[in-house]
Symmetry: C2
């Protein structure tokens, strides 16, 4: 037996006991005649004391040879500390060591095992096993485990069945790129890794499972932007005989439960906002509603006064940054203008109106509009002295998105995005289809299995091109603090409607049949009405922790090149492996 | 809202309530003036009653048009049944239907949706969504979900953290064949799908997670024998600072808990048997100990009497089939002899000794041995009148395995393998290495990370070839009713020992470094002693249910060619997909 207790367990009531502990040497303080070692494991830290007098010279010398991160086993007596540490639960006691065994030595780690480490990203990823020893990273992974446990507890209590869907499935070109897996037993053929278990969970509804869930790995071979991972985890759910309302209630319940159970936080109400309103008032389909600064449109007031930029714009729109007038000098405004003109944002310029504390007005468009006119604008914004109005113009949709980014930036600068302030929101009534001007085709706004709203079904089956653009879906996203936690929809469960949707999305009948024939077939054998949702699990954990990076909530993440730096994957495989798979690489290094 | 209740919920106390139900039409009984429909969902079956009188002619006509597996919604009043059905919980009531809506029609299913269906394997797999509607298959999948929930509950309560390990990892040729995934972002390189998260869970121990578990998909590209799946699920665990004893205690606890929580069964004790004893007494490293018929060796008695078959054999060994003498005529014995001579078993012949009820002896070797000699054998077996002794001979290891198969066959024939009799067993003290005569190399009996027993470490580092064969490992298997549920070991946590093991297994230093360098490196930074286990989850569910096939516990299994018959995967992919991956297929149909 390596230990009688773990390193977070002993208390003053244990004083006098003989114990054995095992763990890692966290710190060593050597006073010459006396030595303290902090012994660490997942459960905590316990102080060990070595004195030449009590420990004996040999043991004392052996302890001197220990280094950081050595793994040791010690036996000794629990004694009361003379100077207590009220910051840790074991702070009242220490162990007077009588026996010491080195279980494993350790080289000096390439970075410090502390919350604020000196290790850079690459080094930390290469030595992920050491990085994961850092308390904050370890706590993230443990938190993730707790969220998973509570998720399963809640859903199981609600009657959901966890069903594992297959990982080796079929490649379907719709959506993102698939990872594929060559089949040795079926030469020339490939499996694909699932981007989501979407069709399988619908099949489970056709099978009558009624309520399904799974915490499941999904895969997308995308060019990795920051904070995307080729493999990620979803809380994936589907329910039969439900309307949108019942799905929202169930997953609002889950979200509330998770915050309460893991963080003791009672979430406020989950307001609902339709997609059009979100775009118009926040310039985003995932508004951060921890703060206001909603948009005010100015076309009526701003156009027709000879300022050609506004006159030619489809939309003039802005928001009011309360009390910010005094904080923005000309230089600051210039810097902010440069910020919106960066290619990531893409605005052509920025118009400001400063409502000075003394009642005067200062604006970049002062020569086109009278002070009286600008006061009228201010009234339209509901602004008061001391406020700063920020205005963009141009093509409506683009301008809203740009202003949405500016709103978030101002929210950040003004300290309105508090990490421990959680504001959930349901965004609902998404369009069914999205017209892509470049590709000259419709894309599914959510996915090809989403149902139009009931009253739109007839219009969808008969309507013209413009009608298609106006169709709305029972599709919904859960947003917390401006982050999309997940989304879902009521699905199509009728073969004719699904076929129509595939056709609108540019599938030939043959393509639809070869890729999704099993689902179309299943719809003919008694498919119930059904709908569901999927939460991004990595992201949920990050948002619940008030953190930005999902990478810190994944034990072994990949970098932006899709590489696991620790195991050095991907890597070349043996020629025989290629031969068995009837594959040849056409790639030549440097090509 | 599609329903106020599900189809398993209503009781006599609900009589008089107005309710709405949704579900599938299970059966229709039409008496002309009156009609009953059994409405089914996951929760149960509720009887609907339509009478021309109460329901109205239109509704009655509409009900007549319903067919099997139609999805309908009905509203009506709960009434007490005149003839009750005490076989189902809703059997006291029926619904007098007042409104009916067809939610989806259904074509006639290609096989009956009943426990004993008329559908063959292929048809059932192609229409798996219908197969999964059958109550027994659905119950298997629901049982699996319960076992998973209880597993997580138990392990979480024991302080285990569930950590997700990556699916896209690195190919390592040791062990079975890997499925590989070409990397588009790293042309010419491949990920591999994990055969198990072995190295990652060890890394988590190095990181200090102390107790890890995961219910996780694993992948092996093997030629599929019956009841193997290319993707399968493990309960995967690892613990730090533990000896074998603590691992066995923990997972005996888990197994006991699962049987109790999901089946109300209290398991008997988990005896331990070492590998050598298992092989000698049962001819198997996974003995079914629901029954005896252990082996008795006969070399001393059988050799040197002129029967050359025995004289030339390395081992003469048999068992006593109690009371079977009268059941085996010469013809039966001949048939049994043919059975052991089949290539799957491979014995050269079978010797029998019948101890007739009248005290006489009949044997195929009667002309070589006196009745007196054979009586001596019988005494050696502890046999009595009426028993049948079955004896094989030949090369020791092979003969034991053949006799082990014969023992199982006799156990089956004698009705000694009761499905609801559960007999767990720990097999321990496995050899560390296995010498392969053909390959002329050692293979790891468990896997390359298994530690020799403490007292064998020095012998391993210094020993000769024969010493290596005699090394024993802290490796253990859990066997229930002759099925290997899982296995594990205490791992190596020392770089030098791991390097020695890799060398014994035929790795060059470069190979060891390129494949497992991260683990060797991790061992240098303070790796704790650790060990673990993995249970085959699909198999566990099948064994707990007293069933043989794991396929019935997997929602979407693949067939023996690795195909998913429902979605028709694997399948060819588009040329552009191949190009993006810099791949070319060298396979030509018919080649």
């Amino acid at each position: 037996m390596y230990r009688t207790h773990n390193c977070g367990q002993l208390r003053i009531t244990d004083a006098g006991s003989e114990v054995t502990l095992s763990g890692w040497v966290q710190t060593i303080r050597d006073k010459g005649f006396m030595m303290w070692i902090d012994l660490r494991d997942r459960y905590g830290v316990t102080q060990l004391i070595f004195t030449e007098e009590n420990t004996g010279a040999d043991l004392f010398e052996a302890a001197r040879k220990l280094g950081r991160e050595f793994v040791i086993q010690v036996s000794g007596k629990v004694i009361e500390r003379s100077s207590k540490n009220d910051k840790i639960p074991t702070g009242d006691i220490e162990i007077e060591v009588q026996a010491l065994q080195v279980l494993n030595a350790a080289k000096t780690p390439p970075f410090t095992i502390e919350d604020n480490t000196d290790g850079g990203d690459d080094l930390r990823m290469r030595y992920r096993y050491l990085d994961l020893r850092r308390a904050n990273v370890q706590q993230n992974i443990i938190f993730r485990s707790q969220v998973a446990i509570e998720t399963r507890k809640y859903l199981a209590e609600q009657g959901f069945i966890e069903v594992e869907t297959p990982v080796l499935i079929k490649s379907t070109p719709e959506g993102a790129r698939d990872f594929v897996v060559p089949s040795r037993m079926n030469p020339g053929e490939f499996y694909a890794l699932p981007q989501s278990p979407q069709t399988f969970k619908q099949i489970l509804m056709v099978s009558g499972f009624d309520k399904y869930f799974q915490i499941v790995k999904c895969f997308r071979d995308e060019d990795l932007r920051a904070d995307r991972q080729p493999e990620f985890t979803q809380i994936d759910c589907e329910m039969s005989f439900v309307t949108q309302e019942e799905v929202l209630q169930t997953f609002e319940g889950l979200t509330r439960y998770l915050f309460q159970a893991t963080k003791g936080i009672t979430l406020p109400e989950f307001p609902r906002m339709n997609y059009d309103e979100a775009m118009q008032r926040y310039g985003s389909d995932k508004p951060d509603i921890r703060f206001g600064m909603t948009f005010t449109e100015l076309n009526d007031l701003a156009k027709g006064h000879g300022f050609s930029v506004f006159d030619e714009a489809e939309l003039v729109v802005g928001f009011c940054a309360e009390g910010q007038a005094e904080h923005y000098s000309n230089k600051d405004i210039k810097e902010l203008t440069e910020w919106v003109k960066r290619p990531q944002i893409g605005a052509k310029g920025l118009v400001y109106i400063k409502l000075e504390a003394d009642g005067s007005i200062k604006s970049s468009v002062g020569k086109f509009y009278s002070d009286e006119a600008l006061q009228q604008w201010a009234a339209h914004f509901g602004a008061k002295a001391g406020d700063l109005l920020l205005i963009l113009s141009g093509e409506a949709e683009k301008t809203r998105k740009q202003l949405g980014e500016l709103r978030l930036e101002m929210g950040r600068r003004m300290g309105l995005m508090q990490a421990n302030d959680f504001k959930p929101l349901w965004v609902v009534d998404f369009p069914l289809l999205e017209w892509d001007e470049t590709a000259e085709r419709f894309f599914a706004m959510h996915h090809p299995f989403t149902s139009p709203k009931k009253h739109d079904i007839a219009r969808m089956l008969d309507g013209d091109f413009e009608t298609m653009k106006s169709l709305r879906a029972d599709a919904y996203d859960l947003v917390i603090n401006g982050v999309e936690i997940g989304g879902g929809s009521i699905r199509i469960h009728d073969r004719a409607l699904q076929e129509k949707n595939f056709k609108l999305l540019g599938f030939t009948q043959e393509q639809a049949e070869s890729q999704f024939g099993f689902l179309l077939g299943a719809f003919e054998f008694g498919a119930p009405p059904h709908g569901g949702i999927a939460f991004g699990f990595d992201r949920l954990c990050a948002v619940m922790s008030g953190q930005k990076s999902i990478r810190d909530f994944i034990a072994f993440p990949k970098n932006n090149q899709g590489r696991d730096m620790m195991i050095d994957a991907p890597s070349p495989i043996a020629g025989e492996q290629m031969d068995e798979l009837y594959l040849q690489s056409t790639w030549t290094p440097g090509s």
